[in-house]
């Protein structure tokens, strides 16, 4: 028991040190092995650090003979899981073209393309064919489902069940269970759609309910108010 906790504590210390390295001493070829280990750690502990991964991709750019395609592939899968953030593109900008031509990277680029263009059915089909790439990273499925729900929440006030099912790749009884969970924790609700089946009512946000949009243009920064404090006082 004690040893497990020690390893955990050591891991926390190691990740603290790597983040420090990236901030304080990023342009240093000696930290390459630490950064590679950190990628593997992000995969196994389901954490993520864009800065550390970009730092590593830069070092690979400086010394291409040290590039590990396996590590790069893992970085890209992690970046995909960060959607809607554009991390995947940010990583591609740093990876040489000839590396991007390799099969596994072409597949990842196709997967990214499907996600960028909302083509979830094609995405899940392709992901099923490339299990070896995506199953190597725990949490992948949940991360993509999370992105899908994000996109649906931007777009729909009420979404047909079939559309939701296709987006998150869950059907039948599993979907029922999933919906129950979401209703209990995230404020989802279900209505009857006209004739065709269920309609899932997504929580209101400023993107699918225009009346909730804060008129940001009219908010006044505090610094401006401080200028009239002498007058008000």
């Amino acid at each position: 028991m004690g040893r497990e906790r020690d390893t955990q504590k050591m891991q926390q210390q190691v990740s603290f040190t790597v983040e420090q390295l990236v901030t304080v001493n990023p342009y240093n070829p000696d930290i390459l092995p630490d950064l590679e280990n950190y990628v593997n750690e992000q995969v196994s502990s389901e954490t993520y650090s864009l800065d550390a991964n970009l730092c590593l991709l830069r070092l690979y750019q400086f010394e291409p003979e040290r590039l590990s395609t396996q590590i790069v592939a893992r970085i890209l899968v992690k970046a995909l899981m960060a959607m809607p953030a554009p991390d995947f593109s940010l990583c591609l900008f740093l990876i040489p073209e000839r590396v991007q031509m390799e099969e596994q990277f072409k597949t990842l680029i196709v997967l990214s393309h499907y996600l960028e263009t909302g083509r979830f059915r094609q995405f899940w089909d392709e992901a099923a064919k490339s299990r070896h790439i995506v199953e190597a990273v725990p949490g992948f499925e949940q991360a993509i489902q999370s992105y899908a729900i994000h996109l649906l929440s931007l777009t729909y006030q009420k979404v047909p069940r079939s559309v939701l099912a296709e987006a998150i790749n869950i059907e039948g009884l599993s979907l029922d269970k999933f919906l129950e969970q979401q209703m209990a924790t995230c404020g989802w609700s279900i209505e009857k759609g006209h004739g065709k089946g269920q309609l899932i009512v997504l929580p209101s946000n400023e993107f699918n309910h225009p009346e909730l949009k804060k008129n940001a243009a009219d908010s006044v920064p505090l610094e401006h108010i401080t200028r009239i404090f002498p007058i008000l006082g």
């Binding site: 800065d51 750019q61 400086f62 593109s89 740093l94 729909y156 047909p160 993107f207 200028r227």
Partner: protein, 526 residues
């Protein structure tokens, strides 16, 4: 009298410009040891002004006298060698480093540097920066000069990478020299120097403390009025812009913007005290945001700087930076045209800037929004014209066959950019319809757009995704000019009302009224 400078790569590689004897004059076509009286006077006065910390005079000599003499005497030849002038300035080590810095900058601007000269320039920057980093410098130099040092440093790095990547035409001597001096303009060296300047100057902490009123930096334009030196602090400050630039050249836009973060570009600052620095900062900031799909941020900043240049460029007509200013101005109009074609938020653009934009790119912007093959060709053209000169930072392979790979980095960035544009292909069609309807069923819109319903759903989600960017703090911000939401199978278009700004209006009126009351109080009634 300056004769035409005969340029011979082989001789140049062998020659060392800094210890010439008379007999070599024939090979070079000029005498590096000949010091005209005007140059002697120049260095003597400049040296004195630096010792006396007379920043105004230094600036005059640096900006004006140096240019005038270059134009008159050194149009096609380098300035006299540092060894020839050293004894006029007490052989002062630091002055000689500064002189050489100007010497190389002049060479790069007017002539084509040889490999040996590139390496020597690197050595000079190393010596100069090391002196500054050791904190033994007590000069005050004009911001213009300090900016030029950082700017030139990054420029020469970029130039070296481009040069090194053209392996096909390299001679045996050049290859041998490259192998021998693999530290010169090494990417690690360049980045670490810039980083060291930022760190040693403690500029980030200074700027933080300034916000709390505990430090004065911006207020004094970076100058030190307490008898100290501004050199390390200001070089550290400008190095943040230097780091942004280098990271953009590498294609790492996220980190580049992070390096710039300590500088608040919504305000004036030391970065606006030199026009070259102002333009370089905003150009790279805008470009990085374009690549990060934060189109609104890019448009806002390009708009501000283009308006500023429009109003002030007449004052810079005589300055040596004028050509660069004009060039960057044109490039930023091209980038603005790209941003507005991908994110048509014309109301963000000032009237003057908008009319200039229509003049230069109005026709092309119409064609870009058609998203056909011709459109992609125009995106390609504008991007290629306006983008930074991307570099491949790694050392070349010296194995046969030698290839030119100087275009690789640019080609990759262009390819990825066009890929992104293609993904947005169907969005302008959606926009057109959404502008016309307040509600429309999915079935009807699918019919008009000649796609099936499931495809339309994916197109609409793509629209939402591409128009809602993720900002640096992970928040979602909408770039959309036209927006909508879907209720089951009905699309509801969201009308965007023009925003009335009451807060600013009230603040202004409060201050004004206070002023009037104060004035009235001052009136003495007898």
């Amino acid at each position: 009298m300056a004769t035409a400078y005969e340029y011979d790569d082989a001789t140049a590689a062998a020659a060392n410009y800094d210890d010439q004897a008379g007999p070599q004059r024939q090979d070079l076509g000029y005498d590096p040891n000949f010091v005209p009286d005007s140059v002697k006077s120049f260095v003597v006065h400049l040296y004195r002004h630096i010792r006396e910390k007379n920043v105004y005079e230094i600036h005059q000599m640096y900006e004006t006298s140096f240019q005038t003499l270059s134009e008159r005497l050194f149009k096609e030849t380098p300035w006299p060698s540092v060894d020839a002038v050293a004894h006029y300035v007490d052989n002062d080590h630091v002055f000689c480093l500064l002189y050489r810095e100007m010497w190389f900058r002049h060479l790069y601007a007017r002539l084509s540097p040889t490999l040996k000269q590139r390496i020597d320039s690197w050595d000079n920057y190393c010596s100069l920066f090391q002196v500054v980093l050791h904190g033994v410098v007590n000069m005050q130099l004009p911001n213009q000069w300090l900016w030029d040092m950082v700017d030139e440093f990054v420029y020469q790095f970029q130039s070296f990478c481009q040069y090194r990547a053209k392996m096909k035409t390299k001679t045996e001597q050049e290859i041998a020299l490259l192998r021998q001096h693999d530290q010169a303009w090494n990417v690690y060296g360049v980045l670490n120097f810039l980083q060291a300047l930022v760190e040693k100057s403690m500029i980030i902490q200074i700027l933080e403390q300034e916000k709390e009123g505990l430090e004065q930096f911006t207020y004094t334009d970076g100058y030190d009025y307490n008898g100290g030196s501004n050199v390390l602090k200001v070089l550290g400050y400008f190095s943040m812009v230097g780091l942004l630039r280098v990271h953009c050249l590498l294609g790492d836009y996220h980190t580049g913007l992070k390096c710039l973060l300590p500088i608040d570009i919504s305000q004036q600052g030391v970065y606006t005290s030199v026009i070259g620095s102002h333009i370089t900062t905003i150009y790279h900031y805008g470009f990085a945001n374009l690549m990060l799909r934060r189109y609104v941020d890019a448009i806002r900043e390009f708009n501000k700087i283009l308006l500023y240049i429009y109003k002030t460029k007449q004052y810079h007509q005589k300055s040596p930076q004028y050509e660069q200013i004009l060039k960057k101005n044109e490039q930023m109009y091209a980038l603005l045209a790209i941003c507005l074609s991908l994110c048509p938020q014309v109301k963000l653009v000032e009237e003057t800037v908008n009319s200039q934009l229509r003049e230069k790119y109005g026709e092309k912007m119409i064609r870009m929004q058609r998203y056909d093959d011709e459109a992609f060709a125009i995106y390609d053209e504008l991007f290629s014209y306006a983008c930074p000169k991307f570099i491949t930072p790694s050392a070349p392979s010296f194995e046969e066959p030698l290839v030119n790979y100087n275009q690789d980095a640019y080609r990759l960035q262009l390819k990825l950019f066009l890929y992104e544009v293609k993904q947005q292909q169907l969005l302008s069609g959606v926009r057109t319809f959404l502008k016309v309807y307040s509600t429309i069923s999915l079935a009807k819109l699918a019919n008009y757009m000649e796609v099936d319903e499931p495809t339309l759903r994916t197109i609409l989600m793509t629209y939402k995704h591409k128009t809602h960017a993720v900002d640096s703090e992970g928040k979602i911000i909408s770039n959309a000019d036209v927006d909508f939401y879907i209720d089951d199978d009905m699309i509801h278009v969201i009308e965007s009302k023009p925003l009335k700004r009451y807060g600013d209006y009230f603040l202004r009126q409060i201050v004004k009224l206070e002023g009037v009351i104060n004035d009235m109080d001052r009136i003495k009634l007898d």
